[in-house]
Structures are given as C-alpha cells and as structure tokens.
C-alpha cells in the first residue's frame, strides 16, 4: 500500500466544545490508484488530505505512507516524507514568487536529492512550460502556474500525489487541460493520486470515488 489511513479522528475547537470533523476514517491506496474525495464544504476533505500529507496531525489513528507511520514521526521526519515520498498540489499553487519557473520546478527534487534534468525537461514539454522556464510566476496565467506546481510535485518522482482542488481556481477548459496532463503524468510515473474536489467532472475521471459525510467515508 502507498497510503493506509487507520481510524483517523480529528476535531476542531468550537464555541466551548470540540466539533468532530473526522470520525475514524479508514482508507487504502495502492500504487497507480486514482481516487477522488468529494464532500460538502466543511465536511473535512481537505483536513483528511492534510493529515495524509503530514501537514496536520490527527487526534488519533494511524497514517502510513509507503510503509512508514507518519504519526510516529517528528516534524523533521514528516518533512522528509513530504520532500521525497509524497507531494502536494494546492489550489493556490504555492509557488515561490522570487524563483523562476525552472527553479520552482526543480526545487522539491533538489531538496529530495533526486533532481533529474532530463525528466524535468520531459515534464515541462508535456505540460507546455518549455517557453516559460525563465519567467517568474507572477507573469504566468493561473493555468500555467498550476502546471508549474504539478511539474514541481512530480519532478521529485513521488509515490503518492495529493491534490487539493487543483483546478479550483481555473476556468473549465483550462481545468480540463491541466487535469488531463496531470492524469497522464501520474499514470506514467505509477504514482497514486488522491484528489480532493467539488467538481463532478474531475471526480468522474478517477478510478475510485469516495464521499466524506458526517466524518466518515462512504
């Protein structure tokens, strides 16, 4: 299994009491699997993805990524996992504004010590970024910025790609293009893909689909 979530529970502090968001969620993903996670706003989809990425700790339960238990790791250990084993694509792109496109793409792979210039070139060609390598993120359109974020995530050859509303900030046709490119590259690298989305069309393109409601998956 690339990702295994066991009985994940999480609640947030509300007005004088804790509001449970996740109530013992279990999930398994094998290499090459694609999974869409849907649910109402505030249902806890993004929280689950953040827990899977080690960005947020669960109140209880086990997060196992590529055989390693994140819940037993300290901050440095979880950072190490985010660097090399898994990667996250955010709705807001989260590019480093002061670095050029090529430096942004190479950034995570360099951190992980896995930079492969040929593979980066391949990613840029496939994502249509070859003409923009020396530009800075602020000069690119939203769709182009998200392609850079995807290239950055895949350049480190992660075993698991987690995407939080990756097309949420894009128009319909750009969203479709970006999603296609991402799906193709994920398939090519045999990574597992967990995507959080509101979009019915995005969800339909995934092999598996789960709905989060009332803190549990259905």
């Amino acid at each position: 299994m690339v990702l295994k979530l066991n009985a994940i529970a999480k609640s947030y502090a509300g007005a004088g009491r804790a509001i449970p968001v996740l109530k013992g969620v279990d999930l398994d993903m094998s290499p090459g699997a694609t999974l869409a996670l849907t649910g109402e706003s505030g249902s806890g989809k993004s929280t689950l993805l953040h827990i899977a990425a080690g960005l947020e700790p669960p109140d209880s339960g086990q997060v196992i990524v590529d055989g390693q238990d994140l819940s037993k790791m300290d901050d440095s250990g979880r950072a190490m996992m985010r660097r090399g084993t898994l990667a996250v694509v955010f709705q807001q792109f989260n590019l480093i504004p002061s670095l050029t496109v090529s430096h942004n793409i190479a950034f995570q792979a360099r951190l992980a010590g896995k930079e492969d210039a040929t593979y980066n070139e391949h990613l840029c060609d496939r994502l249509g970024l070859a003409a923009h390598l020396d530009k800075y993120p602020e000069t690119l359109s939203g769709g182009q910025q998200q392609r850079v974020a995807i290239a950055r995530a895949l350049a480190a050859r992660p075993r698991l790609l987690l995407a939080d509303e990756p097309t949420g900030n894009l128009d319909e046709s750009t969203a479709a293009e970006v999603l296609s490119s991402m799906m193709d590259l994920v398939q090519e690298s045999q990574a597992a893909l967990l995507i959080v989305t509101h979009s019915e069309s995005v969800a339909q393109r995934m092999a598996q689909r789960l709905h989060l409601t009332g803190g549990t998956l259905t």
């Binding site: 950072a79 985010r82 660097r83 955010f90 002061s98 670095l99 951190l111």
Partner: protein, 800 residues
C-alpha cells in the same frame, strides 16, 4: 553546508535579488543605525584615548605636584633645596612654543617612569638621552618640522605621546625655550619620613594633591555626556529600525516560508537557515554602518576637537584611529539587535500554522485590552519617573529618570494616538475624511514601533538641542557678565602693575584691577579674588541667588560672593558664614554662576582681599573704554608693554562663539542623522504594511476613489501621524532637557544650567520630522498610485 541547505538558502535569498530595492533599504537601515551608534562611540573613544595619553605623558591625576603659590614658575634653586632636604621630587618644564606644548621631564626621577615612547626596551634611557630629541605623535611631528627653531632637533615619532605635545629631556626643552626655571615638581608617592616641611624649605611653593587638581577627563565629561546621550538614544532608535527591518524581511516572505514548509523543509532547518541568512545580512549592514560611522566621526572629529580645545583647553587628536572598542560595539549592537528582533519573528514562524491563508499579523491588530495594558504600564513608568525626580539621588538616578520617561512615553503613544484620531474621526464632516481618520487609526498598531522610534528621535533632539542652546545662551550671557570690560591687560612684575594702573587711571573710563591668590575655605582649595566694586560689576553681574543689597555689602567688606561650585560642594547658601583662610568669617551675599570652572571661587572686595594678602599686586586689569585701539596705543606708549599683554574682549567673545558654532555643527549633524534613522524605521513599517494595505484599500478604490487619491492619502496619513508624534514629543523633549539641565548636570558637575526655550529651533525640528515622515511615505504612496487595477481586483477574486 549540504546541497539541501544551499537550495533553501537560494530560495530565501532569491527574494532579495527579485527585490533589490528592499535589500538596499534593509541594509541601509541597519547601516544607518550602526553608523550613528559607532560614530558617536568613535568620537568619544578617540577623545578618551587622547586624555589617557595626556595623563600618561604628564603624570596628570596620578601624582601629587608642587607648584608656585602665585601660579608662576619655580626657581631651580627651590628644586635643589627640596632635594637636599629629602624631598623626592622630579622637575617638569611645561610651556608652549608656536602653539605646541613642550614638556621636559627628568627621566631618572620621574615617578612612574617614562611614558610609552617606543624606545629600545633594553636601553630606554640611552634612547631618551641620545641627543637633542623631542618625542611627538605624527600630527605634532609634522607641526614641529615646519618650525625653524626645531630644525636643529631630532624629532622621534611616538604614537603614545598625547596630541599637541612634544616630550623631551628637561635640559633639551629648557634650551629650546631659553629658560632655566621649572613649572612644577612631581612628588614621588613614597617620601622619606624625615624631611623638612615644604613651607620651611620653599615658602613660595604649595603642594597640590592629585585628586584636587582639575582633571581633564572630568572637565570634558559634560561634552561627552551630550554625545553619550545621543549615542544611547540613537541606539534605542537603531533597535527600532533593526526590528522594523527584520519584521519586513519576515512579513514579505511569510508565504515563501509556508511553501517551503509544505514542500518538506523542517521547521528546525528553516529557522536555522533564516537565522544564518539574516545574521549574514546584519554583518554586511553592520560593516557598512561601521564604515559610514567612521566617515561621520572623521568628518565631525575636527569640530569636536576644536570645541573641546576651545571650551576646556583639552587637546585631542583631529584624526581618527580604528579602535577595536567602538567598531566592535557597533558590530555587537547590530548583531544583538538583529538577534533580538529575529528571535521574536522566528517564534512567530514556529507557531505559524502551516496551512492558514495569509492573514494580517497579530501585532497589527491591537485590541482594546492590549491598549489598556500598555497605558497601565506607561503609568507605572511615569510614576517611577516622578518618584525619581522627587526622591532620586545621584547621576544614575538622573539617567534612570530619563529612561523611565522615555519608555513611559513610548508605551503611552499608541493609546494617545488612538484617542486623538478617534476624536478627529468623530468630528469629520465628509465620509472620505471620516474614512481617512478611521483608516489612519487602523494603521496605528502596525506603525506603532516606528512611531515610537520617531517619538524618541524627535524628543531626544528637542532635549539635547535645548540643553546645548541653553548652555550656549547662558555661557554667552556669562561671558558678557564676566568679560564686561572692553580691554584686559596682563603684567608680569609688580613694577609694571603699578605703572599700568597709573596709566589706566589717566586714560580709561573705569579701572578694574583683578587680585587673585589660592586660599582654602570649607576645607577645600579655592581661588580667592579681590575686585574693585563699581558700576561695571553692579550693572553686569547676574547672580543665581543673592541677598538684598548684596553689592553694597560686598563693597563695604561685610559679605562675600561665592561661585555655585563652592556653594554646592560646601553645602552653604545665601546668609551662611564662610571662613576663608586669613580672613574673618563673612556671610555669603550672593552665588554666581561659573560655568566650566571645576574649582571653588570666592570674590571679596579689594580691601578685604588685602587683609589676607597685604602685599598682593594685581597682575591683571580690566579697563572700560569706548576706544579700545586708542587706549591700547596710549598704554603701550606710556608703559612699553608688548601687544601680547593685551586681550581684546571682543576677540575672546568671537572665539567663544566660534567654539559654540562648531558644537552646533556636531549637534545639527547628529539631529539630521537620528531623524534619518527614524525616517527609515517608518519606511520599513510602511513597506511591511504595504501588502496588507491592498485588501484594505481595494473596496475604497472600487467605491470611487482613484489610486492617485489613495496614494495622496497615504502621504497625508504619514504627515498627520508625524504631526501628532511631534506634538507629543515636544513636552517629552522639554522634560528630557529639564532632567539633563537640572538633575544630570548638577549631579555630574555641581552646577545647574538655567533652561531656555527655543521655539524657532523646535519648529525647524518639527519640519525635519515631517520631512522624514513624508520622504518615508513617498515610496509606498507612489507604489500605491501605480498599483495595477488587476491587483486590486484580485482581492475580490480571491474572496470567492
């Protein structure tokens, strides 16, 4: 450093390459703060090193000395008589030629040995006595080389000799000066028990204990106190600017840091690398600052040197040396300030949620509770200041009072601004004006640190300027009083004195003989002066305190006048009886100001003076006349006195005024520098807030205000806030001036300076503060005027 750290550092540093102007601002801020601190330290350190060199060269302050009672020279025969009667004394000749102080020592008997002259350590005496040699530092050696009388001498470079002094064997110096007598005798600390009393061996000489003599360091401390006050305040302002600069560096990269964390950079590594990066920048900024500080100090030092020479006769070198104590302190201040500011920000980064969207900083959102807490704390500091003013004692308490006042005022500032802006907001007539004041109030928490820095800078400038200007005014008035005569004439012999007095009686409107001799009163050495009380004294001398009819009582020999130093040290005041050696006890009729004089002084009428010294002859005369050149000519014709015997009052006053003008150059330069630093602090804060401003301003822009309007209002806002700060800084600065003049000065030097107000100076300072604030706001305002509509619209797009 491994590859990953390099990648992260590259990402962090790339921000500066993309925003070079911000890097320049950041480094310039740090450099200016360091420059101001290290510049002031450099000047102080150079001056102190010069005093130390002078003390080491001349044995000043270390050993008791024997001097002539009449202040004149010591015959060689007295020295021989003292040595024969068992006194272990060493002769010194100390005189000037062509403006250079020539000091002759007897190397075998000089207590403490020779100063550091870089002689051969195995045979120092041979080196000292090798021929007609004078030892001097490079500056003085250059002056000596230009003199014809020194051509036959060998000049040896010795950096350890104090500036303006040439040192040599006593025989050599006596030959150069054409003298065979001495100026003073240094008394070795260990004397034989059986030796004849000084009064028997040489009745014309007296012993001066080392601690009773005027010490150069003490005399010049008042001047250095001003500089140190500036240094301390610039340090405080510097800390604010460093804090602002670090805050800016963090705020602008908050998003990048969050991204780095989400991409797998551990908190520990990120914290470490940010610290490394900022410390490296601080090091660059501090180095630039030290260079700048050196330039500032080197530019100001000749003026400072001239001021000290003019005021106190203290020689300090006009060139600056790179001394470790000041440049290290500059470096330490910059790194320490960066460390403190960084620790706070790193703590924020550590607690920063990894996923939260960008939101305004917590410190930019003040709560009413926070304001109340600050006001409470400010009240505690004000109460402490009041307690120190009422019950405090000593120099330290004076400085503590200043500190408490400054901290209290800085803490109270945000709440006072909040109240003032709420008041104006409530009275606004139009919706735009109302929004302007409300928005200004909203900015106060974010700008409060920078505004506090501006408050400190402006109030410090008002305080120090008031002190310096009050000193200047008082000193000029004092000179007018004490140098009321148009012409002064000095004579060397009793015969000359009698001849001169007769000539003066014939030609001058009023003759004022000045009698003077050392005496003792209230167990301390004093100068006893005898004067001929007349209209000049009655019309010109102003007293700090006096009994009614004081002059008549002094004139009739029923009372005396004391200087403030004596009155305060002896704990005596008007009406108290004072016993001066050789005179009956007389009540103190008046206390006079006597600035810059460390010794006690008592003035009596000529008649009373003669009771103590019947044979005393005036060696100096003041003369009143409407025609100074005419009187000089007549006196020269009749008495044959040389031109050197005459001192024109106008010349002394011009010289004194010149000295003060130089003091003002120093003060004015430091004023401009502190305000520039405060302006930078404001610029840093405004730039830090600039990104936060977009979401705040976008709705107003959408509602119909143009970007130009918004930019203009940003500028107006900075000016409005600076005006408020100035209004608050004025009473604070005056309170500071009062503590400097009435508390610190009295504790440090024994005399109080009256305080004067200088509204024109304050208005100029106010304009300078507005200029600094306006310039600081200009860049952010221009940026806002040019912000693209797309960026403003994105605010609404992101809110979907």
């Amino acid at each position: 450093m491994n590859g990953q750290s390099r990648v992260i550092l590259h990402a962090l540093a790339s921000h500066w390459w993309r925003n070079p102007l911000q890097l320049v601002t950041f480094l310039a801020g740090l450099a200016l703060a360091t420059a101001l601190w290290s510049g002031v330290q450099a000047i102080n350190s150079e001056a102190r090193a010069s005093y130390d060199a002078a003390a080491a060269t001349l044995g000043e302050g270390q050993f008791d000395q024997i001097v002539a009672r009449d202040g004149g020279r010591i015959p060689q025969s007295d020295f021989v008589a003292l040595r024969r009667s068992g006194w272990l004394v060493s002769p010194v000749v100390d005189d000037r030629r062509s403006g250079i102080r020539l000091v002759g020592l007897e190397p075998l008997s000089t207590p403490g040995g020779l100063p550091d002259l870089e002689l051969d350590p195995d045979a120092p005496l041979q080196g000292f006595l090798a021929g007609d040699i004078l030892f001097a530092n490079a500056e003085t050696a250059e002056l000596l080389a230009a003199e014809t009388w020194s051509q036959a001498l060998q000049i040896s470079l010795a950096p350890g000799v104090a500036p303006g002094i040439a040192l040599g064997d006593i025989g050599v110096v006596q030959r150069v000066l054409g003298r065979d007598d001495l100026d003073r005798l240094l008394v070795a600390p260990d004397q034989p028990r059986r030796r004849a009393p000084l009064s028997e061996v040489a009745p014309g000489l007296e012993l001066q204990a080392s601690l009773q003599r005027s010490d150069l360091g003490q005399m010049t401390d008042s001047f250095h106190l001003n500089l140190t006050a500036f240094g301390l305040l610039s340090f405080a302002v510097g800390i604010f600017i460093v804090h602002g600069a670090i805050g800016l560096a963090f705020e602008q990269r908050r998003g990048t840091m969050r991204t780095l964390r989400s991409l797998g950079v551990s908190l520990r590594r990120l914290t470490l690398l940010v610290a490394v990066e900022l410390m490296a920048l601080a090091l660059i900024g501090a180095t630039l600052g030290i260079i700048l500080g050196y330039v500032v100090a080197a530019a100001l030092l000749p003026d400072v040197a001239a001021t000290l020479r003019g005021l106190y006769g203290a020689n300090i070198t006009g060139t600056l040396n790179l001394r470790a104590d000041w440049w290290l302190s500059g470096l330490a201040i910059a790194l320490l300030g960066t460390g403190v500011a960084m620790a706070d920000k790193l703590w924020q980064v550590a607690r920063m949620p990894l996923l939260a969207s960008a939101r305004p900083r917590a410190w930019a959102q003040a709560t009413a509770r926070g304001r109340l807490f600050q006001i409470g704390l400010a009240a505690v500091f004000f109460i402490l200041a009041a307690a120190l003013a009422l019950y405090g004692d000593g120099l330290l308490s004076g400085f503590a009072l200043q500190g408490a006042l400054l901290i209290g005022a800085a803490l109270a500032l945000p709440a006072l601004l909040h109240a003032a802006l709420s008041f104006t907001e409530a009275r606004a007539k139009t919706v735009t004006v109302q929004w302007f004041w409300a928005d200004t109030r909203q900015q106060v928490p974010g700008l409060s640190l920078a505004l506090m820095a501006l408050l400190l800078a402006v109030s410090a400038n008002i305080g120090v300027s008031t002190m310096v200007s009050s000193f200047r005014l008082t000193f000029i008035e004092f000179l007018d009083q004490r140098l009321a005569s148009e012409l002064y004439v000095n004579v060397a012999s009793p015969e000359d004195s009698a001849r001169l007095e007769q000539a003066l009686m014939r030609h001058a409107d009023e003759v004022l003989p000045l009698l003077s001799q050392p005496a003792r009163a209230a167990d301390m050495p004093i100068d006893l002066d005898g004067i001929r009380v007349g209209d000049t004294y009655r019309d010109n001398w102003r007293f700090l305190a006096a009994m009614p009819d004081a002059w008549n009582k002094v004139a009739s020999g029923e009372a005396l006048i004391a200087n403030e130093q004596f009155a305060r040290r002896a704990g005596l005041w008007i009406g108290d009886p004072v016993t001066v050696s050789g005179l009956p006890a007389l009540p103190m009729a008046a206390v006079m100001a006597d600035y810059g004089n460390p010794r006690g002084q008592i003035v009596v009428s000529e008649t009373v003076f003669r009771q103590s010294a019947p044979d005393a002859v005036p060696r100096s005369f003041g003369a009143r006349t409407a025609d100074v050149p005419g009187l000089m000519r007549a006196l020269q014709d009749e008495t044959g006195l040389s031109e050197a015997a005459f001192i024109n009052q106008a010349t002394i006053k011009d010289f004194s005024l010149g000295v003060f003008e130089r003091t003002f150059t120093v003060t004015a330069a430091l004023n401009v520098l502190t305000l520039t630093v405060a302006g930078f602090a404001l610029l840093m804060s405004l730039l830090t807030l600039a990104d936060l401003r977009i979401p705040q301003l976008a709705p107003v822009w959408a509602a119909g205000l143009t970007r130009r309007d918004l930019g203009r209002m940003e500028l107006l806002r900075a000016l409005a806030l600076a005006t408020c700060v100035f209004v608050l800084a004025l009473p604070l600065g005056l309170a500071l001036a009062w503590t400097l003049l009435a508390i610190v000065n009295v504790e440090a030097f024994g005399w109080q300076l009256p305080m004067f107000l200088f509204p024109a100076d304050y208005a100029r300072l106010g304009l300078l503060a507005l200029l600094a604030a306006g310039l600081a706001a200009l860049w952010p305002a221009l940026k806002l005027m040019r912000v693209s509509p797309h960026r403003l619209l994105k605010v609404f797009a992101d809110e979907r």
